[in-house]
Assembly symmetry: C2
Homo-oligomer: 238 residues x 2
DNA sequence: CGAGGTGTTGAAAGTGCTCAAATGGCGTGG
DNA sequence: CCACGCCATTTGAGCACTTTCAACACCTCG
């Protein structure tokens, strides 16, 4: 991937999109693009951190493992999203591990380049803050969902976020972006629970499930089922 | 509370402590101190936000309520901590409600003062980022705990964070900082569950419970019980 | 002493988890 | 084109943990 292509990718749909071209140009001087194959890790928790990553294509999961061998999925990210940035504020070690869920193309940008850009350029600093605030907000929502919603409702909420059109109430198809086992751990449940909870959701809200394709017959009905257990009224955009 | 006292309070143990006196002085020009009595709210979720708060003394809970009337506690804060800041990045409305758990003395600082200070002063911006990164990190830990730890382990982990001395293995007393019902919802469980889970923790790790005072006979033992279900090895400082 | 708040306990139901086995789709090699 | 094996997913049965609802104990304060 050429340097120009990298800059273009950063301008499109990443947290750096408001940063000026010249700043991105600077930042990309030490950046590189890379392919990571399915199942391979970018870095592990506590690794010394030298760079953060921006996903150009593919899916990446962020996770931690407990001493007794369980895994908690923190997030699953795709095009335009970045990861590894919190290392900046964490003694330069990564606070989580990251792994390609499928083949990934990413841009690797040294943290010191980001730091330098931040110091010289208010816009970079502002973008980073915006990014962190959004992350923080997402985590708080997540925590609320774990507290107030049951398994079926969390699945429904996940589906609602995948909708393209939140206004039309007519039937819409949703394609699960990654396999059900990963969706389930992303939502803090086991695959078996996911399967049963999805069946329950099907019974409650008239969705149809065929493999990874889910057809929502009434968005209203689905939202009514999920969002009553949440502080946000549908659609919960920001 | 005099302006000098406010500045002094901000210099001591808040996220603004690295900010220069002159900046704090500026910021405090439009700040005011206030008392809020137990049970009274500072603001509600979705209120238009004009200021954030720094706690000088007392305890404040941050929470959200679902449509069907349940409450999720996001955090419970005390001296030196602040709340309301995320409104800066949230269309100037508060993303959560806040209520005094006991009588509180706080400093109310207009958000525009913070914003202005941030723009004129790198150190303020840096402090704010540091603060947000830490918050973000805390939320991720919280989420991990909900995923991987059971009720007893979460209580144990909560107690470990209250320890003054993490090195000595000898007996130490801990005083619960607020009532058990609030601790339980802070940890995402019901009061009854808390009571039973604490009894189980007592059986498993030789702690003694007498009202709000808990005596840990062996920190090692408690840590061994809780931290095996977590990715962080004890003591988990940062 | 009585009232109200706070915490505990019991019994039963609900929810999600574990382990094991069955199902079904899909790509490969024959 | 079909059989095979692999993998993801589903299903079943039993269990563990948490919640619910109700009752009770305890403490403090008036």
């Amino acid at each position: 991937m050429s340097k120009q292509a990298m800059i273009h990718a950063l301008k499109n749909n990443t947290f750096l999109q408001s940063v000026s071209m010249s700043c991105l140009d600077d930042m990309c001087k030490t950046a590189q693009s890379l392919h990571v194959h399915k199942g391979h890790v970018f870095f592990l928790r506590e690794d010394p951190a030298e760079a953060f990553y921006v996903i150009v294509r593919g899916w990446v999961k962020l996770f931690r493992e407990s001493l007794d061998g369980n895994q908690a999925i923190l997030d699953v990210l795709t095009d335009g999203h970045s990861f590894g940035i919190p290392a900046l504020f964490h003694e330069n070690t990564f606070p989580y591990s990251s792994e390609a869920v499928e083949d990934v193309i990413a841009i690797r940008i040294p943290l010191h380049a980001l730091k330098k850009s931040m110091e010289g350029n208010i816009q970079t600093a502002h973008s980073l803050m915006q990014y962190m605030a959004k992350e923080h907000n997402n985590k708080e929502k997540e925590l609320e969902h774990r507290t107030l919603q049951n398994a079926s409702q969390r699945i429904g909420c996940f589906l609602l976020k995948l909708l393209h059109n939140t206004h039309d109430d007519g039937p819409q198809d949703i394609l699960l972006p990654y396999d059900k086992a990963l969706v389930s751990s992303r939502l803090g449940m086991k695959p078996e629970t996911f399967s049963r909870a999805l069946a329950k959701l099907k019974a409650e809200t008239d969705i149809q499930v065929k493999g990874s394709t889910i057809t929502v017959s009434s968005v209203q009905k689905l939202a009514a089922y999920c969002c009553t257990a949440c502080s946000h009224t549908f659609p919960c955009k920001p």
